[in-house]
Symmetry: C2
Subunit: 466 residues, 2 copies
Amino acid sequence: MLDKYDYLVIGGGPGGTPVASALASAGKQVLLVEKGAGLGGTCLFEGCIPSKIFRESARRLRELQESGDFGLCMPTRDVHLDWSAIQERKQVILHLRSTGAIQRIRQNSSLDITLGSAMFLDNSHARITPNAEKPVDIEFKQAIIATGSKPFRPPIKGVEESCVVDSAQILEINHVPERLAIIGAGPIGVELGQVFHTFGSDVTLYEAGAHILAHADQELAERLQQQMTEEQIRIITDCHIKRICRTGSGVFVEYQTAAGQTAHHFADTVLLVTGRRPNTEGLGLENTAVKQTPHGIQVDEKLQTTEANIFALGDVVGQPMFAHWATAQGLALAKNLLGQPVPFPDADHNSAVIFSEPELAMAGLTEEQAQSRDIEYEVARYDYKRDARAQISNRAKGLLKILYESDSHRIIGIHVLVEGAGDLMGEAALAVTQGMTLEELACTIHPHPTLTESFSLAARSALQKR
Amino acid sequence: MLDKYDYLVIGGGPGGTPVASALASAGKQVLLVEKGAGLGGTCLFEGCIPSKIFRESARRLRELQESGDFGLCMPTRDVHLDWSAIQERKQVILHLRSTGAIQRIRQNSSLDITLGSAMFLDNSHARITPNAEKPVDIEFKQAIIATGSKPFRPPIKGVEESCVVDSAQILEINHVPERLAIIGAGPIGVELGQVFHTFGSDVTLYEAGAHILAHADQELAERLQQQMTEEQIRIITDCHIKRICRTGSGVFVEYQTAAGQTAHHFADTVLLVTGRRPNTEGLGLENTAVKQTPHGIQVDEKLQTTEANIFALGDVVGQPMFAHWATAQGLALAKNLLGQPVPFPDADHNSAVIFSEPELAMAGLTEEQAQSRDIEYEVARYDYKRDARAQISNRAKGLLKILYESDSHRIIGIHVLVEGAGDLMGEAALAVTQGMTLEELACTIHPHPTLTESFSLAARSALQKR
């Protein structure tokens, strides 16, 4: 470690790592400080990746149970789950990715990486405490805070019980719970609810809102909710959790229904997924002019905090909290700091995937957002019921919606519910970001038979109706 | 049937059906004549769809065999294939799609559909012979030939043997051959070779060229070939088939090696997939001024034949022979005939998927094409070995190549070898068709963790190296 750095980057997740790497590649002296066991952040160690590893096993188990439909005969009753093997596979992939990230980034000779904590002493000095070593004070010209977020524990009576776990803890669980109660039907709740349901858990989802996935396209979310209900996942909406209480026959989750009545279900494990809060504790922000709001560190549109030489990005500045969003912010910030004034990412061009079964993916605006801005828009629709590829894979249940401006035909949002929707989001994001028209999408030659054809089929069909 | 039509469309496949439908939707009187059992053409009845149905069962069998890697324990030896169930599933989907297509198109009141044959009497009259009915002569103002193609049987000694089947016949086979010889390692040969290999056939692929998939990116084709070889598919390149001969212990395929030596292997079934020829027999072209070349009906860039009021499109006019290409031609032709001068599809913007395992997909130009035109280009590369999504699904073997012009950074071709590559082609085709730059692709927010991220990762990495 040096005494002085051009840049101090705090947080080695999907936001901090690329910004540190880009600055160091340009020859700047950079210190990257990461509190966890390696580079990767929540995404790698407690979020996207481990949950997708579980989901992949669940997806394969589902497919295996459907083998008979495809002419593959097998005694499905003889299939059993080796939970420790799944956990072990997870560890292997996490280790591989984390060491891979470190190896790649270490090729930058002007980048130092310290596993430990960082605390601002003032706006140009910080105390770095490497794990199990003595603190060192350093000087920096500019700093970037990318410390991410952590699960929020709402003040529900009983949340301190050991059977109540958060989104990070459930990924370390050493067994499949027989009865799993999930509080919060956002992306994580829905995704893990389906995963554990497939693994054999009896799953109950509790949601304060009127339907699951409040931020997704409402029609698609409701359609998914109906499919989950048909698959025997219990979904209780418009409810208010009153208390969690351990009893002789399991944990008791008491809630108030929409009608004001008190009801309860038993569970063995309770998963709390009611949002996330920015990680700002211990950063010494009080020693700087950096301000916070309840949503996170306050930044302007150029990610500058209220302390001119300190920047912040990713989950720690609030919604949207996505790994790819933090990366996009980090890359743009690095370029701007290096004197290349590229535009910062536009939330209207963001994309996201909910790894439900089927996947629910989106790019651009939702109908609710378009309406709130008084945008005159129409919707091109496509039902995967008639889709060749979806029929072939027995996944013909989904829906595609392309939102476009009524006058210009410019595409402003794409929402897809179908297994494989995530991989269609590159095209969706490109169409939205580049402001393409329905006509341009319609005449692009999409290969047959793929799910991606649906984009041009929906566009053509909407244009024909006009 | 009427006496007179505005348009006679011959062929109800992916080319003829949309053109007939679009013309009828605009109020024109249209007669669509289809020789087969229903609408859909080779693609639905003898090509893309049935082969993908087989492939889906093969894909699931492969995944099932890998279950242990994902913590799913099962006695895989107890799995057996119910071939008749696979064939039955195929019939159900084909019927569903064919009747669906007819139902949709019948909503056009100015469209008549006749299952039967059509023969030109002159440039404004044709004899229509509905199946099992008497011929009727009709008059037309303009005609569109979209009769597709059929498998080509090369003049090899022994091809008339009953154990020698073409790409249509293999799809009707009532068992999985123990030993399958495939002559021709183009898309169909590679795809079905892998499918039957997965189903348990001992497969040998014979190819006259130096490697499989002559029209694909050479590097990716060679990589796929190596993977196939590692999976124990026998691939014999640079060979010349001398004869096929039935013997007591099976069929004898004799070939000459690159070194000029004679060698042979035994098989039970021989699949001939050495190209396709246009369907022009019986059309009465000799009664018109329509000219043909060995590759198909001669048309200009507006799909007009040498008879001014007769047009042709799809396989019958030669390469490229793809369902989606024929559809794109049909839609453009219909608009032009209706007085909307839209551009005809550009082969440089075409896309295609080879449904190998993993899929090999492409949009735009190959390196060979770029070189032959003296385009100064560079290649952005991405190895799926380091890809999150690919690692999660144990499919981390592929490669992505983005070809872009050295000076403008405009993307001219995208080639992908990875399972799921087909669904990435919407974005690839959009990027190529719209002439996007590497910078535009790099800053588009692709969601994490998906395969589609690879596009921006490849673009960013190439830009960083520059």
